[in-house]
């Protein structure tokens, strides 16, 4: 076991997978000589050279497309997009090509790419650096979308994503790169399917993914102080969603809050709650509650930004509402 930061976990996964398979490469802006905006590939340029740790020009759509083309011919590129906001430029090659090529070719070809990108809000980066687009990717057939909340998952899911034969989007988070956790020294993999109960409870289910799991955990602590036992579910994976784990938890607690950092209309919460209504409507003792960002472009001003983005306090109050206490 060694205490490992989220960014170090990602770095380690790259390193091991590149050592294991010469077809694994990484590409992105400033990932080589600089080592990556969040250090996720630091030191690897010196180890693997410019042919495998590729510094790209600022051409998101086409370097993603080059990665996709290479993957069709047997390579396993890990494509870093500096910020999910910039991934919008790569949607054509990602969604119109990578997500569809297996299908359009009748299963003859596959695109085993991994796209990694931080996809949350940091502090005062304003509207063009604060998009959270998970909901957009999770609605695209032909992709896998995963959202590691911890160094364990950041490491183990990247390794699985590189070995998977499908295009995988890994949504990381600006505020989690320095999050630390003990992870085993031996190699391990974390699967690309399945939600996880990260805290057991009996009175209410709090569902989050990526950064919002931490908001749920914090809210659960406060609820505990109030004598309320909250169960926290980390979705881990937004596509495909593990409805079974959600159903089982809701059937136990009968109350549910879904917390997402994104705006609400057509969001992750809408999808999860619809699933709950379809799967276990009669298990509910109260209306489900959605905690989400305000429907505005993220403001620069710190006070406004705070008001726009959900907090642990919001999740806590959402839980009280679901419990009929406010």
């Amino acid at each position: 076991m060694a205490e490992t930061a989220y960014w170090e976990a990602i770095r380690r996964a790259h390193d091991e997978e590149m050592a294991n398979d010469s077809m694994v490469i990484a590409m992105g802006e400033d990932i080589g000589v600089v080592g990556g905006t969040y250090k996720a590939t630091s030191g690897l340029y010196d180890k693997y050279g410019p042919q495998r740790i590729i510094d790209t020009p600022i051409s998101e759509n086409s370097y993603t497309g080059i990665g996709i083309g290479a993957s069709m011919a047997g390579m396993r590129p890990v494509i870093e997009i500096m910020s999910i906001n910039f991934a919008l430029l790569a949607l054509d090659t990602l969604i119109n090509a990578a997500a569809k090529i297996r299908y359009m070719s009748g299963g003859q070809l596959q695109c085993p790419i991994v796209m990694r990108t931080p996809g949350g809000t940091a502090h005062q980066l304003a509207a063009q650096h604060s998009a959270r687009l998970a909901r957009m990717f999770m609605s695209t057939s032909g992709l896998r979308v995963v959202t590691p909340r911890s160094p364990m998952d950041a490491y183990g899911m990247l390794k699985s994503a590189i070995r998977s034969n499908d295009p995988v989007i890994i949504i990381e988070h600006e505020q989690m790169y320095n999050l630390k956790e003990d992870i085993p020294d031996e190699e391990f993999f974390r699967p690309l399917e399945g939600a996880e109960i990260v805290r057991e409870g009996t009175d209410i289910t709090l569902i989050g993914y990526n950064f919002s799991v931490h908001l749920c955990l914090e809210a659960a602590k406060r609820l505990e102080a109030d004598g309320i036992s909250a169960e926290v579910v980390d979705l881990r994976v937004l596509k495909p969603i593990d409805r079974e784990t959600i159903r089982t938890s809701v059937e136990k607690t009968h109350r549910v809050v879904v917390a997402e950092e994104d705006e609400a209309p057509v969001g992750v919460g809408s999808e999860i709650i619809t699933g709950i209504i379809e799967d276990c409507f009669f298990a509910l003792d109260s209306q489900p509650v959605r905690i989400h960002a305000a429907d505005v472009p993220v403001p620069y001003n710190a006070k406004l930004e705070k008001a726009a983005i959900p907090s642990a306090d919001d999740v806590y109050h959402g839980a009280l509402k679901a419990l009929g206490k406010i």
């Binding site: 370097y63 297996r102 299908y103």
Partner: protein
């Protein structure tokens, strides 16, 4: 090139013309649906360029990729005409199992990496195929066929730049037929000569007549050899013309009969057959019997196969979305 090869090339181009005409008929009979873009008039380009590349040898082939006007590129690379026709019919025996249709012909067994509908999207895919070939140390190259209109996409500039900086073995073939649907190149594009547009990327580029297959082959040989031997990209432009509308719903109101006639006088099949007749390699009668043979082959093999093949099963709708046999070690589910 020996005399037999020359005759074969003429026959191939005649076959391609008839193949496209027959798909048009099938479309009119409503046996083929969707968008259908025909290659008639441009045959010398794909036939000539790919004749100079490694094709028809399965996995040893160069990688070939193109847009939606893709039937002939696929066949010349090595796809079976009957499977391409079956794909247009939406059949399970089609080259993409009926999931792709006319615009998405794939034949991975021949390294034909697909037809794509998004104008300009194959540029980076081609560069990626070239990157993989280079990475594996194989001597394969990637060949990307696209139209003049595609060069107005950002992917053109982005990819030319990266292909040049990274020295990728990719040949970009621009089939300049002067139109993007109904918009004449002079109305959309600052320069008509497309090869001039890559000069800012420090890449070799040239322009040639695309109606004369001998010219095409001579230029293509130089370009293919350069890409393979130097392991660097090359942009080659051929001036050509499509005879039919952009796709089936196009009444061609944007161009004149006079213009069409000027180009049709230099029809690639006519030019080449006249040359072979003059050289005494074929006679008029031989050409007529070749035509008959082709008609017969397309009717009694290609179309018959497509007509008689089964459709995909509705139960298989969800196949091929993701890996259908994923490894549980990577995919899960999570052990509770």
């Amino acid at each position: 090139m020996n005399d037999a090869d020359k005759k074969r090339l003429l026959r191939e181009m005649m076959f391609f013309r008839r193949f496209e005409d027959r798909t048009f008929e099938a479309y009119m009979e409503r046996k083929v649906g969707g968008f259908l873009h025909l290659y008639s008039g441009q045959e010398a380009v794909a036939t000539g360029v790919l004749e100079m590349a490694n094709v028809g040898k399965g996995q040893e082939n160069d990688y070939v990729i193109t847009g939606y006007r893709d039937h002939i590129h696929a066949i010349k690379t090595g796809a079976q005409p009957r499977e391409v026709m079956a794909e247009l019919y939406g059949k399970e025996t089609g080259s993409s199992k009926g999931r792709g249709g006319s615009m998405h012909i794939f034949d991975a067994s021949q390294n034909f990496m697909g037809g794509y509908a998004l104008v300009g999207q194959p540029f980076p895919l081609a560069a990626g195929l070239a990157m993989a070939a280079k990475h594996k140390g194989s001597d394969q190259i990637a060949i990307c066929f696209l139209g003049d209109g595609a060069n107005n996409q950002g992917t053109f500039h982005e990819t030319m730049n990266m292909a040049s900086v990274w020295e990728l073995p990719v040949l970009f073939v621009c089939e300049n037929n002067l139109y993007a649907i109904g918009t004449h190149i002079d109305r959309s594009t600052a320069v008509r000569d497309q090869y001039k547009r890559v000069c800012s990327y420090d890449m070799k580029a040239s322009q040639h007549d695309g109606m004369d297959i001998d010219t095409v082959m001579e230029a293509a040989k130089e370009a293919v050899d350069y890409v393979r031997n130097e392991q660097k990209p090359y942009f080659i432009e051929f001036m050509t013309y499509r005879y039919r509308g952009h796709s089936m719903s196009d009444a061609k109101g944007y161009r004149t009969k006079d213009e069409e006639e000027v180009w049709m006088k230099r029809d690639p099949i006519r030019l080449y057959s006249e040359r072979l007749i003059e050289a005494g390699l074929v006679t008029d009668d031989e050409i007529k019997s070749m035509e008959k043979e082709i008609l017969d082959e397309i009717e009694n093999d290609v179309v018959k196969f497509a007509e008689e093949s089964p459709e995909p099963k509705v139960e298989d709708l969800n196949k091929y979305v993701l890996d259908d046999n994923p490894d549980p070690r990577w995919i899960g589910p999570l052990q509770k």
